[in-house]
């Protein structure tokens, strides 16, 4: 049965770049846009998704023999909702400020397409090791995309990188406005849409170049 399906190691590698959930599959756009105005928010979000996706994928993989086709989406959603509640309570208890900043986007992980798609594509079909590695790979890919967007937005919008946790300041705050002023638009919604659009364009362009090079070789 597993003959047609990728091996666990392949699943892991594919999640990071070739099938990156955000940059290649364009899934889970809501959190990608909403939490990436600071690096801390992006990393916390990626951590929450890593936890929920890994637990849900492994549990669905264990429940595989019991799944009924017409009820599977409901089972996925309830499994995910349980783990999201755990993640949400954990953040509210130990990282209160971050939980306040992310607000409704942590519970919105329940309806994040990435997790339901992974449960459907991998968790409900393959064994536990494959499901686990697939979840970790996809989450790392998600973290990579979020980190890339958050880096652009935070550096251009605030002039800092991990400003609140590490206090790294890349662009000086004391320059006069004539030399460099923070781009407030990068923190606001339009900056999120434009950054993601340009990143998608760049990834597609690089992918096309690589493919062309491979064909000519």
């Amino acid at each position: 049965m597993d003959r047609h399906l990728p091996t666990p190691a392949e699943r892991f590698i594919r999640g990071i770049l070739p099938e990156n959930p955000v940059l290649r599959q364009v899934l889970g756009i809501c959190p990608t846009l909403a939490v990436t105005n600071t690096m801390e928010g992006a990393i916390t979000m990626a951590g929450a998704v890593l936890f929920v996706l890994t637990c849900a994928n492994v549990l669905v993989s264990l429940l595989r023999p019991l799944l009924k086709p017409h009820l599977r989406i409901l089972v996925f959603t309830l499994t995910i909702a349980t783990f999201v509640t755990i993640a949400d309570r954990f953040l509210a208890a130990y990282m209160y400020d971050m939980s306040k900043q992310l607000g409704p986007y942590i519970p919105l992980i329940i309806v994040n397409c990435i997790i339901i798609a992974r449960c459907e594509v991998c968790g409900s079909k393959q064994s536990v090791p494959a499901a686990f590695l697939d979840a970790v790979g996809q989450s790392l890919g998600f973290a990579l995309a979020l980190g890339a967007i958050a880096t652009v937005r935070e550096v251009l919008g605030f002039g800092t990188w991990f400003g609140r946790w590490l206090g790294i300041r890349l662009l000086p705050a004391t320059l006069s406005d004539r030399v460099w002023a923070p781009w407030t638009v990068m923190i606001l919604p339009p900056g999120a849409f434009l950054t993601l659009a340009l990143l998608l364009g760049a990834v597609n362009w690089a992918g096309a170049r690589l493919q062309k090079a491979e064909v000519s070789r």
């Binding site: 959603t77 909702a81 999201v84 659009a197 362009w205």
Partner: protein
Amino acid sequence: MNYLATVLMLAIATALINNMVFHFFVGCCPFIGVSRKLDMAFGMGAAVTFVVSIAALLSWTFTYFILAPGAPLTTWLWRLLRPGSTAVVDLSILNYLVYIFVIAWAVQLVEMYVRKFFPALYKAFGVFLPLITTNCVILFTCLEIMKHVGPVPGSVPDPWGLDKALIYALFAGIGFLLAIVIMAGLREELEHCDVPASLRGPGITLVIAGILALAFLGFTGMDSSLARRLVPTAAPAAAPSAASAERPS
């Protein structure tokens, strides 16, 4: 402030200023995926508006009577089981599970109802109806309503009754409808344009969404200026205190 003014301001704030797609980024998946054709986009938006209203009705009722801290129904049941207990009964840890269940149930119900009584509409919606279960707009609206439900007076800063929750949900849906219809109209025109190969599809859609979000930023502050206009005529006695409360910092 009189009731109509409150409703009008809530509607404008929800549909335009804090538009679901352009301000909160929720519902981006259908916004990008289903905005290729104008009629499909309209169908999706209408279906979401419909479902979000029903989900809001159900989630407000469940939160108010069962889930929120000190909810009347659960408190009554607890007192029945443990007479003399004064503990505050709080089931809010079950919120997310109940909401997602309610949404899935509402979508299922709407699907069955529409299939039975409006077959033409059912055909037009097609696969979008079941997909609405995982639409962020609906869960987001439920979560937003959750923050404003408190059966115990003073437990939440700005408690909403069922009427306000329903108006919020309706205009959240209308805001989504507006966004997806604008986008579909633009994308239909875009088919005649020469878009760079690497930006085709989601890329150019997001660029347009960015420009539209910039345009929607122009609505910011409209509610407070409207409040200043509406308040003196509506309730002259309450005007000074309300005006000072509305003025931004």
